[in-house]
Symmetry: C2
Subunit: 348 residues, 2 copies
């Protein structure tokens, strides 16, 4: 670019002082509308554009917050980010979204990188280890909020769905529609990521599974709890296959999250088992998978938009010097009944 056009350039050209130009450009009351118009015309003519940096330096802040999203998973977080953007915009804040993969220092490394970014706070989504992220935030001195149901121990105000209640609803639905021998499918820890297997949401959903079955007077058969690779593109689910080979009485499958259902359904189809006539299948999240698979999936819908809105609200609150308490903020899910559990979906 040529040369930056500054306030004083405009001032000189318009034959007024810098202060007047500044007032004219911002909508200050203390300028006569005639001079304001004249100055604006000159500014436009010269192609004047205010310097974000100078303004931020002077007024101490960029009015921007960051959202760090996992870039290794499908975009379930998009509605979350969208809600953050909306909410922040209402408060005059910009939102910067940073997709961060597993590599190079992970989340904590990414946060350290934020020290070079004009941002005043951060919302982290899906955190494997809140402690290190918390330390990174403290290091660069910005407040944080988490949208995260993976961490059992939390160091941030943490927003999540009510996994226990939501899973209860799904499993109760299975029982109510006459199922009694329910498989629970968990993701298998891949390689060196033991953290994942301890994910809080998995624990909660499993707890719901055990509780509901017990309350229904059903015995908990540990052989019905299986672990499978997390790869929605796989042609089938061998662990489920083995189970079905030796246990024909299975009449329902609860996948700990929707994405596991893709391979489960393929395995059932390959064996000529009809869903839901022979076996009902349900998931959790109401993620895109749920509507794309055949048949479409009964599941618990997470209120992503509301969760995003709350995250932004809490963070903005932190910036306004009233740090919200570090606790879990849980949101109820909604049971969505589709063709994978009942032949004629009845809505409730």
């Amino acid at each position: 670019m040529a040369q930056r056009v500054t306030l004083s350039d405009v001032a000189r050209a318009a034959g007024v002082g810098m202060a007047t130009v500044s007032r004219a450009m911002g909508d200050h009351p203390d300028v006569s509308s005639s001079t304001r118009e004249r100055i604006r015309a000159v500014a436009h003519e010269l192609g004047y554009r205010p310097s974000v940096a100078a303004r931020a330096l002077r007024s101490g802040g960029f009015r921007a917050i960051s959202v760090i999203v996992p870039d290794n998973q499908w975009g379930w977080w998009e509605p979350v980010a969208h809600a953050c953007v909306e909410t922040a915009a209402e408060a005059g804040y910009q939102v910067l979204v940073h997709p961060v993969g597993g590599g190079e220092g992970g989340l904590a490394g990414a946060i350290d990188g934020l020290s070079n970014v004009p941002t005043e706070g951060v919302i982290v989504i899906s955190v494997p280890d809140q402690k290190s992220v918390r330390e990174a935030c403290d290091r660069i001195g910005i407040p944080g909020v988490a949208i995260d149901d993976s961490s059992a121990d939390i160091c941030f105000p943490s927003i999540s769905a009510d996994n226990y209640a939501g899973a209860r609803e799904v499993i109760e639905h299975l029982i109510e529609t006459g199922r009694s021998r329910v498989v629970f499918v968990r993701p298998r820890l891949s390689g060196g990521a033991p953290v994942w297997g301890d994910a809080f949401y998995l624990q909660e959903r499993e707890r719901a599974y055990r509780d509901v079955l017990a309350e229904a007077g059903l015995e908990i058969d540990e052989s019905l709890i299986i672990d499978t690779a997390f790869d929605e593109t796989a042609p089938g689910c061998p662990e489920l296959g083995e189970l079905l080979d030796r246990d024909v009485a299975v009449d329902a499958i609860f996948c700990s999250f929707d994405q596991l259902a893709a391979t489960v359904l393929r395995e059932l189809a390959a064996r000529g088992l009809r869903v839901p006539e022979d076996i009902a299948v349900a998931g959790f999240d109401d993620e895109r998978t749920a509507v794309l698979v055949t048949p479409q999936l009964t599941t618990a819908r997470q209120p992503y938009a509301e969760m995003g809105r709350t995250a932004a609200d809490l963070l903005l609150q932190s910036l306004a010097e009233t740090a919200p308490p570090v606790r879990r903020y849980e949101f109820p899910t909604q049971l969505v009944v589709r063709a994978s559990t009942v032949s004629t979906p009845r809505l409730q």
Copy 2:
């Protein structure tokens, strides 16, 4: 927060001048390592953190670029954004991702909003109208690059897949595997969005359809070109249903993009038609839909990562004052053969 700790605070506390502190914090050669260590210790002690704003003001730039992504569609653009992040990082740039919906001024409005954001350039993805976006970029004075195969007329260096060649490959594959009566499914323009129907990529894919059929000596039957609502959650595809009711000879369906295949496959399943035995189905994009539907979809894979990398490269080039020419940069797609067209997928 209390009070900002500045360079001069550190200088005073360490009993040196500001310049020395500045040099010690950056890795300047002209400081004795002993003072450097001492100063760093003091700085750490005081919790000193450099001001992004002041630094940017002083050195004229934030070293950040923006990527504007559509937030009303599923995240097919994620690999694109990821590649942009990687590429930018290599050049020492941060990437800010801005999800933008259709509302409030649309893309052009979003770009205007960037004038308050510390960013030096912008990559726009999936642009309905390049002209207005171009004007917005000029207005706020930043260079842009588009990843976009919707606009027939371009005002940015525009990156896209080679839609014509890619679609040719898919349709040729259908012909080669013995199909001859091929339906072409297009999205119906919804409400007041005529721009969409003229999308360049649709024209190109349709042109390929017509050319390949003609070259194969097949007559083009206009009744085989149908428009359907674009809603992947719909239970079926009525337009296809009507066609099948009156034309039983159909033996293949080419969906102008993968997402249309979801309802198409449901329609076929509901009618008891087997895929691929009775009818083959193929799409375009190799988007997530392709692996989630049953059966999995033969399609043309767009090289999203490479496209993102190129976009970032071109933009960084613009920033380095060598504006790349405004033309279309096309990337070849790759035919991915799956179970929706051949019973035993043969890879090629």
